[in-house]
């Protein structure tokens, strides 16, 4: 005990020391996560708005890219592509959309579209908070909200094309309890989309980040140049292009002709132009996207330098394979256009088509390899879109950077020709069609071409021009509706057979919706 008293101080020292070490730890429970941005303080700065608006585009891109939805829904059904081995793709092509393949279940699940829509709703509800930041001016605010509304209209239109009647909401539903939403009719939704787009079109610029004398639009949008943005965010013409498509989808060709006129008359203001075939098919051309590519009227880019290279979300994933001039380890493509279809679509009577014709530089003349390679083999390879690994690499590393392009000038002008034909302005239709045919070096159509034959020829031109761009199925629907001569198809239009079934998972989570009648 003697020792104990003499060392009392030491004892206290050590004991207190250890107690002190931990006494302050109590305050250390407030650790912020570095991996997320929390609610507090969000929507209060210029950066928040920027990351928010980019998030909308990113989610939209994800919705179209995931499972190659843009092509699975748009290109395959009753289209020009055939599947070689993939039973799931074959099921889509032959319209058996309820077949038991995982891919079909995934595509028929619309969650990712609603994620983008929910993000738009939230953005519109909350972004006004960013006005607290003096850098986030009224001009930014108006432009961003206009974009979010336009994007939301685009998403709703895109979904109506796939599923018809769908749940609809313009609220993020936050603070609620994830209550099941019921179905809204497709017409109501398209009416909403039309009115939204009409309202915001004027609030969108022809070009971003340009000097605006009226000072309506920010001059240096989020510190990036006009070349940087190109037409990647939605422009005024994009809004009109969408309006035209919504009208055409509803069979309202008068409005379609009016809206397409805006594009036809103003496209130079958006630096938009015709795309020569050489640019269209170049690995560093139209589909490579990136900055300074104004020709994508509505497009979603995957920039290699920014780490946005992916495997999914590109038609190349399905169409590319080894060819004589482009080595790839994949021997055969998943989908291809067979030779008889090619021959039928590009008849020699049209003249020497830039897209599929003869190159007379050589004797004997060689076939162009703009759209197809390996034509002489059993399975030709569709290579119109081939942006492999940034477009610089050979095909040994099959990752892709091509943009998902919703529309471009040619597409809108063909829609305009379609509208003219539908409205009986056949001369205008022929003229416009011939202009476009001229761009592809094929002969003008006969001046006598009219009625359903003219309509058919316009749609044939669309097939040639837009092959692989996710239009084919929607074109089939519009053409059949326009011609109204196919009873089976008419029945399908009536009972919802032109739409996709709704995924089991979606149905099981929402008791207010039922499977589309056709697929029950």
């Amino acid at each position: 005990m003697k020792i104990l008293y003499t060392d009392w101080k030491k004892f206290c020292g050590i004991g207190l020391l250890l107690i002190l070490i931990t006494a302050s730890c109590n305050k250390k429970l407030d650790l912020q996560s570095t991996r997320i941005a929390d609610e507090e303080g969000h929507w209060s700065s210029y950066e928040n708005a920027r990351s928010g608006i980019i998030g909308l585009y990113g989610l939209t891109r994800a919705a179209l890219a995931q499972n190659n939805t843009h092509w699975i829904c748009g290109e395959l059904r009753q289209g020009d592509f055939k599947s070689l081995q993939r039973s799931d793709l074959n099921a889509v092509i032959s319209g058996k959309l309820n077949a038991g393949y995982p891919l079909l279940q995934q595509v028929s699940n619309w969650r990712s579209f609603y994620a983008a829509i929910n993000a738009c709703n939230l953005f519109i509800e909350r972004v006004s908070g960013c006005l607290n930041d003096i850098r986030y001016t009224e001009a930014y605010y108006n432009l961003d909200v206009a974009q979010a509304r336009a994007l939301r209209a685009f998403l709703y239109f895109y979904m109506v094309r796939i599923w018809g009647d769908i749940p609809f909401s313009t609220s993020s539903g936050e603070g609620g309890n994830f209550d099941a939403m019921s179905i809204t009719g497709k017409d109501a939704i398209l009416t909403f989309a039309t009115s939204e787009l009409k309202e915001v079109a004027g609030k969108l610029p022809y070009l971003y980040s340009t000097i605006d004398p009226d000072q309506i639009f920010p001059s240096n949008y989020y510190n990036e140049s006009a070349d940087y943005w190109a037409n990647a965010p939605l422009t005024r013409l994009a809004a009109y292009a969408l309006l035209a498509h919504i009208a055409a989808w509803q069979g309202n060709y008068i409005d379609a002709s009016i809206y397409t006129e805006v594009v036809a008359n103003n496209y130079t203001k958006s630096n938009l132009d015709y795309v020569p075939v050489s640019t269209l098919v170049s690995p560093s051309g139209f589909f490579a996207g990136g900055t300074n590519n104004y020709r994508q009227l509505i497009g979603f880019n995957f920039t290699k330098e920014r780490g946005e290279t992916t495997v999914d979300g590109h038609i190349e994933n399905l169409t590319l394979a080894n060819t004589n001039s482009f080595y790839m380890s994949k021997k055969l493509p998943d989908i291809y256009v067979d030779k008889s279809t090619i021959g039928n679509l590009f008849p020699s009577t049209n003249g020497n088509d830039d897209r599929f014709g003869y190159d007379f530089q050589y004797t004997p003349a060689l076939l162009y390899t703009t759209y197809f390679e390996n034509y002489n083999a059993e399975i030709p390879v569709f290579k119109k879109i081939r942006v492999v690994d940034g477009g610089v690499n050979t095909g040994q590393f099959a990752v892709f950077n091509s943009s998902i392009v919703f529309t471009r000038l040619e597409e809108i002008l063909l829609l305009r020709a379609e509208a003219f034909a539908a409205l009986g302005r056949e001369a205008d239709a022929r003229n416009l069609l011939n202009t476009l045919r001229g761009k592809r070096s094929i002969d003008p159509v006969s001046p006598l071409l009219s009625g359903s034959q003219l309509i058919d020829e316009i749609f044939r031109e669309r097939r040639r021009e837009l092959m692989g761009e996710g239009w084919r199925w929607y074109d089939v629907v519009r053409e059949k509706k326009l011609l109204n001569n196919d009873p089976t198809f008419n029945a399908m239009v009536k009972n919802g057979g032109i739409y996709w079934p709704i995924a089991q998972e979606v149905l099981s989570r929402n008791n207010k919706i039922e499977q589309n009648n056709y697929w029950k």
Binding site: S33, F178, N510
Partner: protein, 986 residues
Amino acid sequence: MRIKRFLRLEGFLLFVCFMTALGRLHAQDSTATDSEQDSLITNANKESEFGYEPAKIPVRFKKTAINAVPMNLITNQPYISVAQMLKGNAAGVYVQEPSGEPGTLTNILIHGAGAPLLSNRELYDQQAVVYIDGIPQITRNPFVYDIQKYDFNPIGSATDVLAILNQNNIESIEVINDPVRLASLGPLASKGAIWVTTTPAVPRNIGIAVNSYFGVVPSPNVSVTNAAYENDFRRPFYNQFGNASRRLNYPAFLRDSTNADYYGPSNWTDLYYENTPIYSADASVTAGTGRATLRGFVSALKNANSADKTSINRYNAALSMNVVPYEWLSFSTKIDYNWLSRKRNRNITDRLAEIRYTPDLTNPLTPNKNLYGAYLSAFNGALDNNVNHVLNGYLATAIKFGNFNYQGRIALNYGEEFRDAFWPTVLNEGTNFVSNYFGANQRLDLSNILSYKLDVDANNSITIYGGQHYYKDDYKYNYAYAYNGPNDFIKINVVDYDASQADYLQSKGFIPYFFPSMMSTSLTSFDGNAVWDLGNKLKAHVLVRRDGSSTMQLGYKWFTGYGGSLDWDIKETLLKDQDKFSTLYINGGWSRLGKTYSDDRFSSGPQYRADLGWGNEPTLGSINGIAGLSRPYSTGWVGYEIPWQYVDNFNIGVGAGMAHDKLKVVLNAYNRDDKNGLFAMPVPVEYGYNSAYKTGLVVNNKGVDISIDATISAAASHKMGWVLNANLNYNQNKLKALPGGVNEVVIGRNKFVVGERIDQFWVFENQGTFSGTSDIPQKNGVTFNYQGVPFQIGDAKWRDVNSDNVINNDDKVLKGNYLPKMSGGLGSTLSYKALSLDFQFYFALGRKVLNQYASKRLDFINTEVANDINSIKEITYWEKKMDLTGYPMYNPWSDVVPYRLEQDIFLDDASYAKLRTVSLGFDFSKMPGQASNVFKRSMIYITGTNLATFTKFKGDDPELATYNGLYTGNALPMPRSVILGFRLSF
């Protein structure tokens, strides 16, 4: 950062105190006699070997705690991880090794799982915590999976950081599942705890020990196949259902029967399986007398599998020291460093999972040795370095002051992980791939415990403990990968580190994808407990604790846990004069203990994150390089008001010892409710969210643990000794509630119904084949169909549970379970004079797996054309892992996918029992007439492992399934090994 500085400062101060104490000790060394000193250190150490111990409950049996691993069995076994040592050796612990690859991750579940194992994250949250010398070991946080496309393995070395213990440096491994003891350990131990004590530096251990073994893992006999086999397998399908176009698409590698590459000899096994040496050597020195002892331990080890040249190397050094400068003051310290390096498998799946890219898989590897050899030679130019460093250290002090006792400790557990991978162009379609990973996990652990013992009289005492703990966990990783480097010789991305240069940190020739991430969490606890001891007859224990965690939201930071237990020694109280029972007791306890979240993202409520990717591209976060943020649509909505999860644990046990404790039986019944669980509930997808995290999951696990330890005959000079240890756990789990009062929920391939088990498979019931058109029912003119696709001849006949003429998810039933209902082990030691023979069985019964291997082989049409990660054919494609005859013949081209995995023909009984080891030893020091031997022990032994498996399962090994019961056939087989070793101590 502050905490590190803080640690440095305080650590330094403590170190100074420690050195002062040492100096003090030196000065007075000669004052006490040796025997006095011996007793001093022994007593001191009882109180504070590590400065931190779970609440004490009475030691039931005089010599051993019964839920401890019998060390004599495992010391002669070539096992390297805690999980392997526990396997079959302790009641209530279920260990499943999903692969036989040395050093891979292994799962330890105590008393089942408290939540459905939907992903690796849930699996991580259900793992028991391992304490090594009282330091809860930090393991890799599952947040690394966030950036992964496939979660077969975590990025990084994927080495089991619990593979750091050498049997010869372990004093004991104990399983803690007593409610009050767990509660005294705190939230980290809410899923049960494994309490490992390394051999302490105490006088009884003084001496030198050298142990070593050397052995071989012989290559197994496997039956191999070639293309002819596969061709014969597929031909009937083509004969019955093939048409011209289907025949046209016959796979290229099977098409040409003269192609010797595929149809030739199948001798790849010569290169894949090899006799592989394994070894281990360790030495320890324990020295000191009286008031200071010191122990040093070093070891080196190689463990290997004969398959695919996989192995792990481990070096370890540990130093521990105890100092008792005064009667009332003691210090102990330990530092232990481990280096682990692993040679991983060359599976294509694992490689492509990291590369995130699937090349064309049309032509598989050939079974031909020469071609396979050429393929393997490409790995000469590859890099695959996986290194882990694990450091454990503590400095503890105990101070006695009258009836007060103070224990304080600073401990640190730090692990680093490195992986450098490079795969040259030839392995990957002309594109090379490089990835580098650095990860660090650190746990700082500070604790103070003060106790006061009030002796009312000789048979009545009350001890009160008050404790305070602080844990700070830091997880961090930096991961970068790049494709298409300049050539196959530049294997790393060298950058300029000079900030003044224009090319500062710019990569040359690579476009790296870089993912840095870190997470810090902290946990503070205050606990008090009191033990009322009535002379060993009755002991009552109450405990209250308050835990605060940084992973909780404001207003929910703190949780109060409490519990109590009662121990009644019947023998002491009532049967003192009776001879029948040498021990008899009954005890019961209950506790409520909070459970923290392993992810810090729940702490802030609604949030935003980069979520612009999708399933196959999880890391996409920008458009044109500008980062975008959104709500966490794919990972799930996180709201406010998330309370603590907690565990209500109840246990009642009876222990009996008979014939002087030669037969010891312990029976424990438990009931555990994991309550308030946070669960990602599916919500209507029209809000964009995959799920919303809601609280209110309740999962119940109840069961019985039985341990038997029987000395059937005690070893004596001319008598055979026989000791049997057996343990058995029977466990039932049940989902008691889902968040929001929902009765059932479907998540992906799983369905959970309140009142049912949480680990069931959700499958169609197969009832045969549609062999004729008349077989296919018609109802109201509609053909029996699969979600609208009419069934045809050659399709599977699934039971239409709800009789609506349509087969869809509503017709799936819950069947089978992947966690075993019964698991345990049986060990035995026979000894005669110097000779001993040990064997050990391990079993898991009442468990099923879903046979993805068979499904994939039979569904070859869809598997092959999908060209995704599931289409990969490893070299083991040419091994006959399972007999596939006996499955019905379906049309593999059918749109209903008749060979789909989720049906009960692929649900296989995976119960098994294994003869895990047999060991024969000879201890020279026990030979008659060796009493004066200088050796305390000098033993040689021979051990064989993984000797036999008894099972109905048709695949290669029923244990080799994923944690959620998927048998893929891709796992490396469990190694069978034979080792020869010696153990010397003097």
